[in-house]
Structure formats: C-alpha cells, structure tokens
C-alpha cells in the first residue's frame, strides 16, 4: 500500500484554502503511486473540519483530543506518525504554511522520512515520483528524489489546483496517546492580526508597498479597499515596523499568485520577486526607471507613488 496522508490545517472549524491545494496535490500523487488519499484532522472540537475534508471524497482520520487544543509540533508529531502507520501511508503531504513548515519535517523525521519543502510540481510514477522545488530564492529549480521508504513534502499552495468536492468520503477516529504532563512546550498566546481585507495568499488583487512609501501606507490601503484587495509589503517596510510582519511577500515571507499585483515603491530585489512573480499581471510604480522591478512588470509606471496612487484611485472609483 502506498497511501498518501494529507495534513489538514483549520481555523474556527473551516479548512484553510492552502489545505485544499495540499489535498489536490495528494490526489495527483495518489494517481501516480496507485494509492489512496487519507486526510488527517487534528485538534480539539474539530469534527466540522473533518466532515468538510470528507466532503472531498477522502477517508479522514480525526484526532480530536483536549491535549491537541493548541497546535504544538511536539504534541502533534506523534499523532501524525501514528496516523501515517494506521493509514498505511508511505507519503505525507501538507501545505507550506507556517504550520506545515513547522510540523512536517519533525513528524517525517519521526518516521525516518526525508522531506522536500515548497514543492512546485510532481513527475514520474510508482516508486519513481520526482519533486520540483525552488532553491536560491527561486533562482533555481531542483528536481529531487526522496530516498527513504516513507517520504514527505510540503507544497506551495499557489502551484496546485484545489481538490474538488466528491462523494465516498468518511471520518474515523484516530486515537490520541499524548501525555500532556510530559510536554516540554507550552502554548502561551496567539495575537491575531485582525483584518477586514482578504487574506494575502488568497486575494485576487494585492497592493504592495516598500521603502518608497516612507511608512505612509494610507493611499495604498485606500486603493486596496477600492479594489477589494489585500495589502502586501517588502521586507524593508516590515522591518521598519510600518506594517505587520505577515504582510511580507518574498523568499522568507508569503508567496502570492494573484491576478493583479501592484508594487509601489518596491525596488524588486530577488528575495521580493521570489514571492510574487507568479502573479498573472504585475504593475510596478517606481520613480527610478532603472529599478529591477520593471524587468518583470507587465505595466511599469515611472513616477512618484504619492501622485500615481491617488490618481489611480480616482480612475478605479469613476470606472473610466
């Protein structure tokens, strides 16, 4: 049996969009290996997420226990390992979100499995499935083979089509044998950055600002709201403390692939480009005509963002 175990990430009982992409990748993989896809939902009071996962035609193992209330790599790792064994899984898949990146390498290591991170695509069949993944901030793509009996990888959610609803799914209980008293990690708090805007990685349009904004994101945020867009930022803007950390787009921030990405006052360093070059249309607004961002922009506007953004907002509002 070479089944594929796919790890769910949920919030308030709903699966994350990234998980749907991971399920899509798992289904693609199962076709190549001839195995079944098995879902794993972990947490406390997360039956709804398990039912949702099953509605995509998956056999779902539900590990629901008070000790799993807060995600901790230490306590979730043994659950993943047990579930993989129970499911006869030789592959484990998760999305490359903060959760997947934290958990999967550790859980895989417990099973002696090698892990590939941020996988972009799969090729080959049976035992010879190869994975493509980025290196050097996406300047290089590597084709890798995992040479362990059990194998694991995280996928880049923008690169895989989400799973589709299907019948035939079911939910079974996954026993949890984690001793809360033995844990060396304790959850203290989560400070959520609340926003009315769409999530950065899920938005159709992203308006992003960099050091060129000099910390003034007002007009950019206004444009984002006019367009129903998410707001992104370069590392320079985040490091300066102008905007929240989780707005950062790039090699070490979020990877986005919206239909439209507007980069204002961003020079286009490779580490930034690594996170947004998958956008369908890229607009660059920068007063330096030599800025590297123009090399990848579909529409480059040389000019002052403090003039251009308000003007663009007028156009958006009037619709002509």
């Amino acid at each position: 049996m070479s089944n594929v175990l796919v790890l769910a990430e949920q919030s308030h009982g709903k699966l994350k969009k990234a998980t749907l992409a991971a399920m899509g990748a798992a289904q693609q993989l199962a076709k190549r290996t001839g195995g079944q896809v098995v879902g794993l939902v972990m947490g406390k009071g997360v039956q709804a997420a398990a039912d949702e996962m099953a509605s995509y035609g998956l056999t779902v193992r539900l590990a629901d226990a008070p000790v799993l209330e807060h995600y901790l790599a230490e306590s979730w790792t043994p659950v993943v390992a047990e579930a993989a064994k129970a499911a006869g899984a030789t592959w484990i898949v998760a999305a490359a979100t903060a959760f997947g990146k934290d958990l999967l390498p550790r859980a895989a290591a417990r099973l002696g499995a090698a892990t590939a991170t941020e996988v972009l695509s799969l090729s080959g069949d049976g035992a010879n499935v190869l994975l493509k993944r980025p290196m050097w901030a996406g300047n290089v793509i590597a084709e890798v083979e995992l040479a362990t009996p059990v194998k694991a990888f995280t996928i880049r959610p923008t690169e895989f089509a989400p799973a589709q609803k299907a019948g035939g799914g079911s939910v079974t209980a996954q026993p949890v044998a984690v001793d809360a008293g033995s844990l060396k990690t304790r959850f203290v708090e989560f400070q959520e950055v609340k926003s009315e805007r769409p999530e950065l990685t899920e938005a159709r349009v992203v308006v992003a600002g960099g050091r060129g904004t000099k910390g003034d994101f007002k007009e950019l945020e206004g444009l984002a709201d006019d367009l129903g867009a998410a707001v992104g930022a370069s590392r320079a803007a985040v490091d300066a403390g102008w905007v929240p950390n989780d707005w950062q787009v790039g090699q070490t921030g979020k990877v986005v692939a919206p239909e439209l990405y507007i980069a204002a006052g961003i020079s286009g360093a490779i580490q930034h480009v690594a996170g947004m070059k998958g956008a369908k249309v890229i607009v660059a607004i920068n007063k330096d005509p030599e800025a590297p961002i123009f090399q990848i922009a579909d529409y480059g506007l040389v000019g002052d963002l403090f003039k251009a953004i308000p003007e663009l907002r007028e156009k958006v509002k009037s619709g002509k």
């Binding site: 290591a109 980025p134 579909d298």
Partner: protein, 267 residues
C-alpha cells in the same frame, strides 16, 4: 543562570549574488560568486551574544562543510562568540544528515539552547531545526521573532528577544506565524530557529576580528561521528526557472488604467 548556547552557521552564496545554473544542470556556477554566513545564522549569533551578555555563559558556533567554512566560523567569533567547531565534510548534505551530525555535536557539547537559522538561503529547506528537535526529543520553537520592531527602543538597547524565566529553566519565544504572532514557552534544553525580525546583527569590530584569530576552532571529521553520510534528499538536476516576460512601460496613470481595464481586464 548562565546559558551554554550552540549556534549553527552555514557558509552560503551572498544573497546579493547572481545565481546561474551550469549548462549540464549538475550545480551552480560559482565563478565570481561571493560567500558569507547565512543571514539567518547571523541573527542566531547575535541573539546568543545578547543572551550571554544578559545571563552569562558560553557561545559555541558550529558549521558543517569544507575547509572554507572556517571563514564563517571566524566571522561569528569576530562578532563575539567564544569558540568554534568545524564538522569537516566534503560532498552533498541534506537536512536529515545535517541534523544527525548536529545531534552528535549537541550530545557532546550539552548546550542549554541550540539556535539555528529558520532556513538556509541556498537550499531554502527550512527543516534542519525541526528535525534536530525531533532527534533530540527536545522542545521546538521555530521562526523566533519579537513583538517590538527593529526600530524600537528594545532593539536599540540590544535586548534579547528570547526571554529566560527567573529560574533559568524556561524560555519564552515569540513566533512569526500566519495571521499573527504566537508565544510559546519551551523548557530548556530546547531548539529554536530564528527569523529575520528577531534582531539586527552587530558588525564585527576590529579588536573583535583580532581576538577571533586566537580563539579555538576544533575540527572534527564527520566520518568519525558514526552517522551514515548518505543524503536522502537527492538532487537529480537543477534548472533555471522560465523567465517572466516583462519590461513594458506606460506613460501615465490614464494609460495604466486603460491597459488594466481594457487589455488585461483585471480591474
């Protein structure tokens, strides 16, 4: 409570350099490429030094690689680390192997804390710390950051972002995760991986560089550690990604709007 801290430092291509793949896909072109310490590891060294300044203790830096990796160990010693260990290794590595070697070193050195970078900027794996924590069966806190910005007063005062408890047995770690910041408390010994906004690393001073030359760097051959030296993430081939076609300019905002509205139809 003095802390013994092990910090890992990797020699990588300078993030400013242009990376090209060799025509046969077996590696990258290294001519004209500069090397330096992985930027995340500089942050790890800085954090270790701040913790030592506050609580006392020792900072040991370790690298796995060829003879040249001694340069990055010396850089960390010049920043202020106390001594170095080079695990001498030629040939391919992967996170399972690197973490197995660091497990051996950790068992020898018995630090209270191992600090690694969140990811190496060459392989972009983001795995080694997580696997090391599992191998050691220690607490793990990845992507350590802090709530204050890099322009804040706390940063100016060079306060550590990792907060040791009064009894010296636990540490609070603020983590950068999706949708906000999370705080975990880990019991020591623990593995922590550091993210970009934990601190701004110091530059080595001239006296620091002079002193570094006299600090001890122990060399250990990886073959002597009883670890199977075969990577399991096997790179078959490297490619350059397809280039994005771009470069078109518009004259003004009305033209930009027209293109977006009528040509690309995205607004």
């Amino acid at each position: 409570m003095p802390l013994k801290i092990l910090v890992t430092v990797k020699r990588v291509e300078d993030p400013e350099s242009k990376i090209k793949v060799k025509p046969d896909g077996t590696g990258i072109v290294t001519d004209g490429v500069n090397y330096k310490m992985n930027p995340f590891d500089e942050i790890g060294v800085e954090e270790a030094l701040r913790l030592k300044e506050k609580h006392g203790g020792e900072v040991v830096v370790a690298s796995i690689g060829g003879d040249k990796s001694i340069t990055e160990i010396r850089s960390a010693l010049a920043m202020g680390a106390d001594r170095g260990v080079l695990l001498k290794h030629e040939g391919a590595l992967d996170p399972l192997l690197v973490s197995a070697l660091f497990q051996k070193l950790t068992e020898q050195e018995k630090p209270d804390l191992v600090l690694l970078g969140k990811q190496s900027i060459d392989d972009d794996q983001n795995q080694t710390g997580q696997i090391l924590a599992e191998r050691l069966a220690w607490a793990q806190a990845t992507f350590a950051s802090k709530k204050e910005s890099l322009e804040s007063e706390a940063e100016q005062k060079k306060q550590p972002g990792l907060v040791l408890s009064a009894d010296g047995k636990k540490m609070q770690v603020v983590r950068e995760v999706d949708g906000g910041v999370e705080t975990l408390e880990v019991s020591l010994p623990a593995v922590v991986t550091v993210d970009l906004r934990l601190n701004k690393p110091r530059f080595a001073s001239l006296p620091g560089i002079m002193k570094a030359k006299k600090k001890e760097v122990k060399e250990i051959a990886t073959a002597s550690l009883g670890v199977e030296l075969q990577p399991k993430v096997v790179v078959k081939k490297l490619f350059e990604p397809p280039k994005r076609a771009g470069g078109a300019k518009v004259a003004d905002v009305p033209e930009l709007w027209k293109k977006l509205h009528e040509e690309a139809k995205v607004v």
